[in-house]
Symmetry: C2
Subunit: 163 residues, 2 copies
DNA sequence: ATTCATGCAAATTGTTTGCATGCAA
DNA sequence: TTGCATGCAAACAATTTGCATGAAT
């Protein structure tokens, strides 16, 4: 993941001004491995900046995502942001359903071309959801399938069959 | 995919009333393999029902998704709905970036357990995006990576490397 | 006849935009 | 000092809710 300094350096290199808010944003995202909603960010920042406005949060999130220091992902309950990986090789993610931490995995199932040849493949998505070591211990998530946590999209989420 | 009659039968079996609008919804989704936004549905239905209101569309989409006859997926540009697959085995999807048609694929990359053993795996998502045969011919989508079509989430969408 | 579905209006929430002021460079 | 960043207000879009009426059972 990008560090705070890498984030700031990138923004500065692109001609953006390094305001105090943006420093705080860089810190927040570099120290938090999970996904954050605009509201999460607003509430966190609001503790430090009394007159904070939502539109500035949105603007900065947008700017940082355009710059590539943040990644934007749409979840069922809206858009969320996380700091970009700086790994330059192709990789996928394991996402914790409890703390939303994401771990990169280098395994990619997409080595083959489409066996049916029906499709011109452009891109793919492969994500694993579960509970990370920390959250397994903290919350005793040993039952699995507890529906409490959020989850990305509902596509074929209904459990037909094992994994 | 579920047929119109299967959709209606399911709704009826659950005690829902089969109104004319709901019949039309069943027809619309059973005859359309792609994802539809609430607005898409509203506009289509509006042609037939002059006084149609948006909230009824939302209510029916919600009801049908709760019943399991529709699947709801969050895209970058909002929620979309498609008729459920009635295939009961575990499977994944290839989604056309042009017409949004979805084809089931039986290949599942998730046969192995987590090699790093860091994660208690609960579920996973594997989706392939591209252009189906029809759209390749119609639109000459041979270049690939044209950014015109919609695309689900932006997670590791930035193209670093091949597949 | 009962109960649920619908339309209407309004409320809520999420997000964007225009403009004047303030601050980083 | 100059232009971008911010706060404020307002616009806009997506979605939900309360209530009275109408239709399916």
């Amino acid at each position: 993941m990008l560090t705070k300094d890498e984030i700031i350096a990138t923004m500065s290199a692109q001609g953006l001004r390094i305001t105090d808010q943006r420093k705080t944003l860089a810190t927040l995202f570099s120290e938090n491995e999970g996904y954050l909603s605009p509201k999460d960010v607003y509430e966190y920042m609001g503790k430090k900046y009394s007159g904070l406005s939502f539109d500035t949060v949105y603007r900065n999130l947008r700017v940082m995502q355009d710059l590539g220091v943040l990644e934007q992902v749409s979840f069922e309950d809206g858009m969320k942001f996380k700091v970009s990986c700086n790994e330059h090789h192709h990789h996928h993610h394991m996402i914790c359903l409890s703390c939303q931490k994401t771990l990169p995995i280098s395994f990619c199932p997409m080595q083959m071309t489409d066996p049916t040849d029906q499709f011109q493949i452009v891109e793919h998505k492969f994500e694993i959801f579960g509970y990370c070591k920390d959250c397994q211990q903290k919350n005793g998530h040993t039952e699995s399938k507890s529906d409490g946590g959020f989850r990305q999209t509902s596509s074929h989420t209904h459990s037909h069959g094992g994994y």
